[in-house]
């Protein structure tokens, strides 16, 4: 007998959420969603959650299981049991619960809309035939196209936990689907907008989105692709791009990182406010001898590293 510990919430009856436990024999090969259905149909008809296709296509049934977002219809319940034969179910994170396991997706959709998730071609009159792509061209947006908008990545995103302004992994993956589209004519404008605060450079590289994504979308990898395009398009007037370029140039010069230069170059030499913000940590570290050596040393055989940069035209 397994225990399903479910976070319940019904603001019409009680303002605070609470946990309720249900006992259920997990049928052989049952998915988590099958079990949720069993609980709803046989134990408590008031249990509320979203579901539809039961085939990991519609993206409706994402919930948190044992603290991590997943698609309830995609995972076998037995595989989710903890050491106490319990599965803890909670609503997705980073969004407000409406009732039980149902959350308000409004901010999620607002951010998807914010990245203009539609083709912006340069032709004024629509063409007579469809706009075709080669398989190679499609391969650049293939992964992003697989997103089913389930919200699992949004739920577990570490930046979103502390900053509502971040567009989040799903919207940025959707953005890459158009940044990388050979038929789109707004690449430069797109990467410029995506380099603003709340855009790609606010991603903290935690990899949670890749881990939770039930499809091959891998949002973090798509975010990195947007960064590369932004740098190629010369969108450099922001701390994220300056940081990437400073890092890159440091390795190019010495094979390793010059930690004294990177903070200053990331802020920009004329960004007085930004440079002042570095002072407290810099001073603390200097006084504790935690600062990098003043004279920066190259790695041994740095010439071979320089040769590789040159050979790749960098």
């Amino acid at each position: 007998m397994a225990t399903f510990k479910i976070k319940r919430f019904n603001p019409e009856k009680q303002p605070q959420p609470y946990y309720e436990e249900f006992q259920l024999d997990i049928p052989p090969a049952a998915t988590l969603l099958d079990c949720m259905n069993q609980i709803k149909w046989t134990l408590d008809g008031s249990l509320t959650y979203r579901m539809s296709c039961r085939s990991a296509i519609c993206g409706s049934c994402a919930v948190k299981s044992n603290g991590h977002a997943l698609l309830a219809c995609q995972r076998q319940a037995e595989h989710l049991l903890d050491d106490n034969d319990t599965i803890t179910l909670e609503p997705l994170g980073n969004m407000q619960p409406i009732k039980d396991l149902v959350v308000d997706f409004t901010p999620f959709w607002d951010k998807i809309n914010q990245v203009k998730p539609y083709l912006q071609p340069d032709d004024e009159v629509p063409p007579q035939k469809e706009r075709r792509q080669s398989p190679q061209e499609f391969s650049l947006i293939d992964d992003a196209s697989t997103c089913i908008m389930c919200g699992a990545c949004y739920s577990d995103c570490n930046t979103l936990e502390v900053d509502d302004n971040f567009l989040g992994p799903a919207a940025l993956a959707k953005a890459q689907r158009f940044v990388g589209d050979s038929r789109d004519a707004q690449t430069h404008a797109r990467v410029q907008a995506l380099s603003e605060p709340g855009g790609v450079w606010d991603c903290t590289h935690c990899g949670e989105c890749v881990e939770r994504c039930p499809k091959p979308t891998r949002p973090f990898d798509r975010i990195k692709e947007i960064m590369t395009v932004a740098l190629e398009h010369g969108v450099h007037d922001n701390n994220g791009a300056r940081h990437a370029l400073s890092f890159f140039n440091s390795v190019k010069r010495s094979g390793n990182l010059n930690e004294n230069r990177i903070p200053v170059e990331s802020m920009g030499f004329f960004n007085i406010r930004g440079l002042l913000s570095l002072l407290p940590a810099g001073l603390r570290m200097f006084l504790k001898r935690k600062a990098p050596p003043v004279i920066h040393h190259s790695i041994d055989e740095v010439d071979d590293v320089k040769r590789i940069f040159k050979e790749l035209g960098q």
């Binding site: 900053d163 935690c206 990195k224 504790k288 040769r307």
Partner: protein, 291 residues
């Protein structure tokens, strides 16, 4: 056991106490770590923002250096570990890509053959052999010290490249703490991000991330946080006095590098391990351990 030590840049720069304590911990455990002085920076997932191929070529060159010595690589930074593993996956999953990278390396006398393994220091300790050495060589059991692990994202995610058995609920670091005689503290934030990658871009969000994690460790009763990543260390220790949530609650907690914790248990003194270099005082640890 002999390994090629991929030091990473930060252990030779802002957190030199990590290098110092790694050398001591290795010596105390009877490991032979040979520093890879001609290896380049791993790129930290940042060089690849500019050029993914370049980032992989540089890391493949580092692998080749270890292969020539017939050694596996040991890292002491979660970010180095994850970034190197990413290159390894790229090369091993695509023979054509590997050939392209090897063609770039050839002129420098390097080739990547896929023979060297890449292991984080924690994953070397968390083996049967590592645990046996720890238990055998501990001279100062860390009795009474409650230690909260902070893993660092890159050693856990993506999980298919992680050496920890269950990256969503790992126990490798905690097993090491227990072998050292300490009391492991389990808390939800131990697998979260420290916020360091965006400290230059979004400092408020970055400090909120590290603050939430530290407060979580404190709330779960930890005396000290130990991490296997010097970037996490910078975030959790060097920026700690600026973290609003800790200021508001009048809290602070020392943060150690994993090799410092290990070397403490092997009998080295706090001063020998550079613990006086930390921003947040580590004296509380000395008091608990009477050292």
């Amino acid at each position: 056991m002999k390994f090629a030590l991929f030091t990473g840049c930060v252990a030779k720069g802002a957190t030199r106490e990590l290098m110092l304590s790694t050398t001591k911990a290795a010596r105390g455990l009877g490991f032979d770590f040979v520093e890879m002085k001609s290896a380049s920076c791993c790129g930290a997932g940042v060089v690849s923002e500019k050029s993914p191929l370049l980032a992989d070529a540089l890391n493949a060159r580092s692998f080749s250096i270890a292969e020539k010595q017939g050694l596996d690589i040991v890292t002491i930074c979660s970010t180095c570990q994850g970034t190197l593993k990413k290159t390894e996956a790229h090369l091993n999953e695509d023979a054509e890509y590997k050939k392209q990278v090897n063609d770039i390396l050839r002129e420098g006398g390097h080739q990547y053959n896929g023979k060297t393994r890449i292991k984080h220091f924690a994953n070397i300790l968390a083996t049967d052999e590592g645990m046996a050495r720890l238990k055998e060589r501990v001279k100062r059991p860390l009795t009474g010290l409650k230690v909260a692990a902070f893993y660092g994202c890159y050693v856990l995610r993506p999980s298919d490249r992680s050496d920890f058995a269950n990256p969503d609920n790992p126990t490798g670091m905690e097993d090491i703490f227990a072998a050292l005689g300490a009391t492991p503290v389990y808390y939800p934030s131990r697998i979260k991000c420290c916020g360091f990658p965006i400290v230059m871009m979004n400092k408020t969000a970055s400090l909120d991330m590290s603050g939430n994690a530290l407060l979580d460790a404190i709330d779960h009763g930890a005396d000290v946080v130990a991490t296997g990543c010097p970037l996490c260390h910078l975030s959790l220790d060097s920026y700690q006095p600026e973290i609003k949530i800790l200021q508001e609650t009048n809290n602070s907690i020392p943060v150690l590098h994993l090799p410092q914790l290990v070397a403490l248990a092997l009998g080295y003194s706090p001063d020998e391990l550079g613990m006086d270099r930390h921003i947040v005082s580590t004296l509380k640890i000395n008091e608990i351990l009477h050292c």
